[in-house]
């Protein structure tokens, strides 16, 4: 039995003439410790799927199981979410932001502060414990978001384009950091991206989705050893294959 089981999930937004079929019978399975990327053009339902996995949205039909437990409008206790616009509380310093998920779980003050400081160090933000989000760079903010997500020891880490707002160089750094952290954990990662390079760089498996309605188009296993070299022929070959799959969708959408 897989750790994460997305079982015939469909999602319709709205009703009647305005109804949008955002996801059409999507089924994906992932083992504990697997790194999955959801890749696709904008509008193919990646965020919708991630929100359903995280319990922030309900599927219209089908279900998501985490460790055999169905998710119903409530986040699984062993899941954590990292948001694209980092979702930090501007009135809390770095320590309080990282400690928030622990506080929400009823962890006492001393314990959660101690843990928060550990994770702040782990993401390389020692010295910034008392800073506020507006005093940090984009990359540092997302490190705080990641530290907060990791602080509860999640077995399922859900990330929606977490590095989408960062410049290319910071993004590469953050990708390497994320892999370094993930290798120390036993956690399944579901990582949404529209960057083919990013998906091939990170994932054990890339789920390519297609839009209107959102469907799983093709699944690629990436068996390249890490760290991966984006200039290697194997890497380039995979990128090309995925590009072809996505290019077909672009024709479908009348994009050049």
């Amino acid at each position: 039995m897989s750790f994460l089981n997305i079982d015939h999930v469909s999602k319709t937004y709205g009703a009647g003439a305005q109804a949008t079929l955002a996801l059409d019978t999507v089924s994906i399975k992932a083992d504990l410790g697997e790194f999955i990327c959801l890749l696709g053009l904008s509008g193919c339902g990646k965020s919708t799927l991630l929100q359903i996995i995280s319990g922030l949205e309900e599927p219209s039909t089908g279900q998501v199981l985490v460790g055999d437990e169905p998710i119903h409008g409530k986040t699984h206790p062993s899941a954590s979410v990292v948001f694209q616009d980092h979702g930090l509380f501007p009135w809390m310093d770095v320590t309080a932001n990282v400690a928030f998920n622990l506080k929400a779980r009823g962890v006492g003050r001393a314990e959660r502060t101690r843990k928060a400081l550990d994770y702040i160090q782990m993401v390389g933000l020692s010295g910034f414990e008392k800073k506020y989000p507006h005093q940090l760079s984009g990359g540092m903010r997302q490190r705080v978001g990641i530290a907060r997500a990791l602080s509860t020891g999640p077995k399922l880490l859900l990330m929606d384009e977490p590095f989408g707002a960062l410049d290319a160089q910071t993004r590469t750094t953050m990708q390497n950091e994320l892999l370094r952290l993930w290798e120390r954990l036993t956690a399944t990662v579901v990582f949404v991206t529209h960057g083919i390079d990013e998906a091939v760089m990170l994932a054990d498996r890339v789920v390519v989705m297609s839009p209107r309605p959102g469907r799983v188009r093709q699944i690629f296993d990436i068996n390249l050893p890490r760290p991966r070299d984006p200039t290697s022929p194997e890497f380039m070959a995979l990128v090309r294959e995925m590009l072809v799959a996505i290019h077909d969708d672009m024709r479908l959408l009348n994009m050049p």
Partner: protein, 252 residues
């Protein structure tokens, strides 16, 4: 702050000069229109009396606005958070908030007689609406992503209120407090003219009866000064409590 208050004094100084010139030119009977020096003399000679009346007015405003704060902020947090409550109270709020409180003074006197109580009740009513509406607005404009963060973390409804909605709405609540102190201060003066026998409003009415225009002028000046002081205190509190807003919004 220091620089802006010095610049802010310029028009006031000009006004006093114009006042002096107008007084000397004799366009108006000097018996009715005192000079700046005469009004200054009132401040010196009758300082004790003025202070006593000012203290009575300030006490009422602080009391009334505090009661309004304690009632309006929790109510606003709940109404802003739960759409069902919002729907339930929306019309009522729209109707009652545009009520001029001064129109309620006769009713307050009928219900509570002459004294402390009608004045404080009226101030509470006047301060309640701006606080309530600002709090609701503050809660509704919370960043949606932060609510998702809370939901994904499994935070209780109580933690959402105390750790997310309250701090997020705090700038709006303090704006509401500024407005509340402003309308509370207007109301106390009006209420004291009719419903109480102390305070700056009473002092001004009494000064008219005993034909003391200099006393009326000094009362008006104190009212303006204290209004300014209230406003500055809340602004400073806001700057202090909402430092996290630096870089998010331009400071006002």
């Amino acid at each position: 702050m220091a620089k802006s208050s010095i610049i802010g004094l310029v028009p006031l100084v000009v006004l006093v000069l114009i006042w002096q010139v107008a007084h000397q030119s004799g366009i108006y009977s000097t018996a009715l229109f005192p000079s700046p020096a005469e009004v200054y003399a009132v401040f010196v000679d009758e300082f004790g009396d003025l202070a006593r009346h000012a203290q009575a007015s300030i006490g009422r405003v602080v009391m009334g606005v505090s009661v309004a704060f304690v009632l309006a902020v929790p109510a606003g947090l709940l109404i802003g958070r739960f759409p069902a409550l919002d729907l339930l109270f929306d019309w009522s709020i729209q109707i009652f908030r545009s009520f001029p409180v001064i129109a309620l003074i006769p009713l307050a006197i009928l219900f509570f007689g002459i004294g402390e109580r009608p004045a404080i009740v009226l101030i509470t009513v006047a301060a309640f609406w701006p606080l309530l509406i600002s709090t609701i607005f503050g809660v509704k404009s919370v960043d949606r992503t932060l609510l998702k963060v809370a939901k994904a973390s499994g935070a209780s409804e109580r933690l959402v209120l105390t750790d997310i909605l309250l701090p997020s709405a705090l700038p709006a609540i303090l704006t509401g407090l500024r407005l509340a102190l402003g309308s509370g201060w207007l109301t106390v003066v009006a209420a004291e003219m009719m419903a109480v026998k102390s305070g700056l409003g009473y002092l001004i009415m009494y000064a008219q009866v005993i034909f003391r225009p200099d006393l009326i002028f000094s009362g008006i000046l104190i009212i303006g000064g204290i209004g300014l002081l209230f406003d500055q205190i809340v602004r400073q509190a806001r700057a202090l409590l909402c430092r996290w807003q630096d870089g998010l919004v331009a400071s006002s």
